[in-house]
Amino acid sequence: MSTLHTVNKTAADDALAACLRVATSGDSLLLIEDGVYQASTITGHPQAQVLKLFALKEDTDARGISLPSSVTPIDYAQFVELACQHSRSVSWF
């Protein structure tokens, strides 16, 4: 029943804010591409507390971004696994 949300934009775009408004408890949120720049600020977001948070390791490595402990790094293979574990995915791009 749960949804995998992916966000690939920085905070200059309202994609993450929109995603957080409609994501619900048990959903997963994966930051990819420029979305990984929001990894450290997202943890302070009240709506983010009920979500499982991930970031794509290839994209954080490329940008020199280190992740807070509440955001789990995953690789592309795990991205595929994650997509399979959810009923649907929404790309906020």
Binding site: M1, T3, A15, V22, A23, R88, V90, F93
Partner: protein, 124 residues
């Protein structure tokens, strides 16, 4: 057109302005395609997407087709579940009662329910 499989519930979340990029038009085209295949469709306007609903658009002045006029024809294509997020409307000072087309103003929570009840969700 015959439907080979049972129809899916598809929710389209349109978050872009009508003429600033091709995204709003692309979303409408996807909605019309899905409608041609007799799928169960929800169309949701959020964020800047609600500008597509602004009344009195006359995009002839910029050589564009009137997107709101095309939206007004959606019931003919059996697309009747059209929503706009109240918060996005009020943030842009748009009155739900004086939009180009009739939409159901709804909360983010209601959109969350639409997503949960969908087989597929497209956001653009």
């Amino acid at each position: 057109m015959s439907t080979l499989q049972s129809p899916k519930t598809i929710t389209f979340i349109s978050r872009s302005t009508p003429y600033g990029s091709g995204r709003a038009k692309a979303c409408l085209d996807m909605v019309l395609s899905a409608a041609a295949f007799e799928q169960k469709i929800n169309l949701v306007f959020m964020d800047d997407g609600v500008w597509q609903l602004q009344a009195a658009q006359k995009p002839k002045s910029i050589d564009a087709k009137d997107l709101s006029a095309a939206l007004s024809a959606l019931p003919l294509f059996d697309v009747n579940n059209i929503f706009a997020e109240s918060k996005s409307l009020s943030a842009r000072d748009l009155d739900p009662a004086s939009l180009a087309i009739g939409v159901k103003a709804c909360s983010a929570e209601a959109i969350a329910v639409l997503i949960r009840e969908s087989d597929v969700v497209y956001q653009l």
